[in-house]
């Protein structure tokens, strides 16, 4: 299973690279400064939850946590793990995308 997954992982990576990366030339610099504001992430959770017409308690049930936890995630100024983000938006049937870009090329992570 491990070997299998590893093999698949490499295939996936190669696919990704061949498709999206191609070759990248020389030096480059970041276009604009990027800053992720955690409040916005919390706002996103809230927005999507409202969109789905769920209370914090109901969303909590879907995920398996108390409403207080949802509240904290929504108004959170703290750091969050990827796992938590995925868990929440999955329950909300929303798709999360992470991408990394250098220069013109964009590498989709998920």
């Amino acid at each position: 299973m491990v070997t299998k997954n590893k093999k698949m992982k490499m295939m996936t990576l190669d696919q990704m690279k061949d498709k999206d990366i191609g070759k990248i030339g020389t030096v480059e610099r970041d276009k604009y400064e990027f800053e992720l504001r955690m409040e916005v992430l919390g706002d996103m959770i809230k927005s999507v939850r409202k969109e789905r017409n769920l209370t914090q308690e109901q969303l909590g049930e879907l995920i398996g946590v108390q409403k207080s936890q949802i509240s904290k995630l929504e108004r959170n100024t703290k750091n969050v793990t990827i796992e938590t983000i995925l868990k929440v938006f999955k329950a909300l049937k929303a798709n999360v995308r992470f991408s990394v870009e250098m220069n013109e090329s964009e590498f989709k992570v998920a």
Copy 2:
């Protein structure tokens, strides 16, 4: 590093996952989805680092951590916080974007 013109018969990512992991919604599949994302995230760090011609040690110096830590991030031994992701890609002068999409609407988080 990036292999060009590598003609191989391979399944699409979704095909692979459906065939070898199980259908969407199963525990196995969900777990794999998460692991896949994490693994690919590590691969992205590695790819961009290589692109910048940096060793793990050099990247570590930029961020202020040991090379072992970079190794761990690239090999995804753990879950990762947003802060860590941002820190790494910032050092690599790469731009990270998170976005959430549900149905037709897409909400940019950053």
